[in-house]
């Protein structure tokens, strides 16, 4: 029975240590905060727009696409995030496993932007938010003309 006791204590130790290690794993985005918000263009909800938050200390940007009411959510790193928004012409459709065609000369690749292109770049959009836990939904109000 002595052996059994030793085994039990070893087992308990191992279980405890497993939980300790689990605490350090996860998404690789520690402390990310759920951000909800709405994008509007000239006061009207903007559907199908891509939204990007860039963290305060770099890291990979996080993205979302707005729904029919212009709403989105994503998980961003706390701190001041520069924000970019883009809406491009979409042909929509099926999504077969087609491969890109050979005719893609550079001019074809230029995004056909439906809102001012300055918003598509976090450096020129002029939009930023401080991300923190418990923050209210953000309002991203875009204008089609200056």
């Amino acid at each position: 029975m002595k052996i059994a006791r030793v085994l039990v204590s070893v087992a308990v130790l191992m279980i405890v240590s497993v939980f300790l290690f689990l605490g350090c794993g996860g998404s690789g985005r520690p402390g990310a905060v759920r951000v909800t918000g709405q994008v509007t263009l000239d006061g009207k909800p903007l559907a199908g727009a891509a939204v990007m938050f860039t963290g305060p200390e770099g890291g990979a940007p996080v993205t979302a696409v707005t729904d029919a009411n212009g709403n989105f959510f994503l998980h961003a790193v706390p701190g001041v995030n520069k924000v970019a928004v883009a809406k491009t012409e979409a042909a929509g459709g099926g999504g077969e496993e087609a491969l890109s065609p050979p005719e893609d000369v550079p001019t074809v690749n230029e995004a056909k932007q439906l809102i001012p292109p300055k918003y598509a770049n976090p450096a020129t959009s002029g939009i930023s938010f401080e991300v923190k836990p418990g923050m209210p939904p953000v309002k991203i109000e875009l204008k089609s003309t200056e």
Binding site: A4, G58, A60, L99, D104
Partner: protein
């Protein structure tokens, strides 16, 4: 009682065994990248440049007119990876993507793209096993040449991801398929990279990185295909583009950007190693880069000549 405890201990041991197995697979995966690095430099020693990322279109071979579909970088590296015999079966006078040969394979009518090349497969990626059964007999590669932050990232009209305009904003100015920010492009002989074309230094520039067939229609075209686009650093490492089509992405509450048909989010570097992916730099070194790397730093090490050589990532 004792049996139960032993059972618990075994249950505890299993994850450790799995971790050890992944460590072995990762080691093999890194070793493959190093082999590819050696092959690239052997090629450079002989031809005075690295091979083209792919000869999808543009440029001429054998002095004839414009020709398309003359194979990937992976085809041209075969002689430097102890695959000389396979390489000699490629007849570059015609398109090679669907090339069949009658000998020496037993069935007398074999697609060259269906031959598995072990050094092109990362054992960590579980899409490899499934691809044994994909139609059209394609064997894939887990390693893709890098285009770096080349501006001309694009969008699939039938699988449109509106994020692509955002990713373009990280592109390097005045770059395109003929003049890529990274060392490779599918634009064939219009651009082949020499060591002299990497002023940032080969040790500071990504040459090749990991990709997953489950997450990219282009990767699924196989190791020999000439539409091996090259991956862009504008797409964050391990961005999830692994849904087979738009419908399945939307059924999971995601957008089209999570489908592997977008021509933008799909052509980023991805792996199943936890937290990042392995990259071959131009000097032959292999580094694991975290998927939380600063996104501008990632662009700087993707770009061969932006004048920035960041360290400590």
């Amino acid at each position: 009682m004792v049996i139960a405890i032993i059972g618990i201990l075994i249950a505890l041991l299993l994850p450790a065994v799995q971790a050890a197995r992944e460590a072995a697979r990762r080691s093999q995966c890194i070793n493959n990248l190093k082999q590819i690095g050696l092959a690239l430099h052997s090629y450079h020693d002989i031809y005075g440049s690295f091979p083209p990322g792919a000869v999808f279109y543009g440029g001429t071979d054998y002095g004839s007119g414009p020709i398309n579909n003359r194979g990937s970088m992976h085809v041209r590296l075969l002689p430097f990876l102890e695959q000389q015999q396979l390489y000699q079966l490629f007849d570059f006078r015609n398109g090679t993507d669907n090339l069949r040969v009658s000998t020496p394979f037993p069935d007398g009518n074999t697609l060259l793209r269906s031959v598995a090349i072990p050094v092109y497969l990362c054992p960590t990626d579980n899409s490899n096993r499934k691809l044994d059964t994909v139609p059209n007999q394609v064997q894939v590669s887990n390693y893709y040449p890098s285009m770096g932050p080349t501006y001309t990232i694009t969008d699939n009209p039938s699988c449109s991801c509106p994020e692509y305009a955002l990713w373009q904003s990280y592109g390097s100015p005045n770059t395109n398929n003929d003049n890529p920010a990274g060392p490779f492009t599918r634009r064939g002989w219009h651009f082949v990279c020499r060591i002299a074309d990497v002023p940032d230094g080969t040790s500071n520039t990504i040459f090749v990185g990991e990709v997953r067939a489950d997450c990219s229609g282009h990767v699924r075209a196989g190791w020999s295909h000439s539409n091996k686009w090259g991956a862009f650093t504008q797409i964050p490492i391990n961005y999830d583009s692994c849904y087979p089509d738009v419908a399945s992405a939307q059924a999971a509450g995601k957008t089209a950007c999570a489908a592997r048909c977008t021509w933008n989010t799909e052509v980023g570097f991805k792996s199943q190693h936890p937290g990042g992916a392995n990259f071959l730099f131009g000097d032959g070194s292999v580094r694991f880069i975290s998927q939380t790397i600063d996104h501008w730093t990632y662009q700087y090490i993707g770009d061969r000549r932006d004048g920035r050589s960041p360290s400590g990532y």
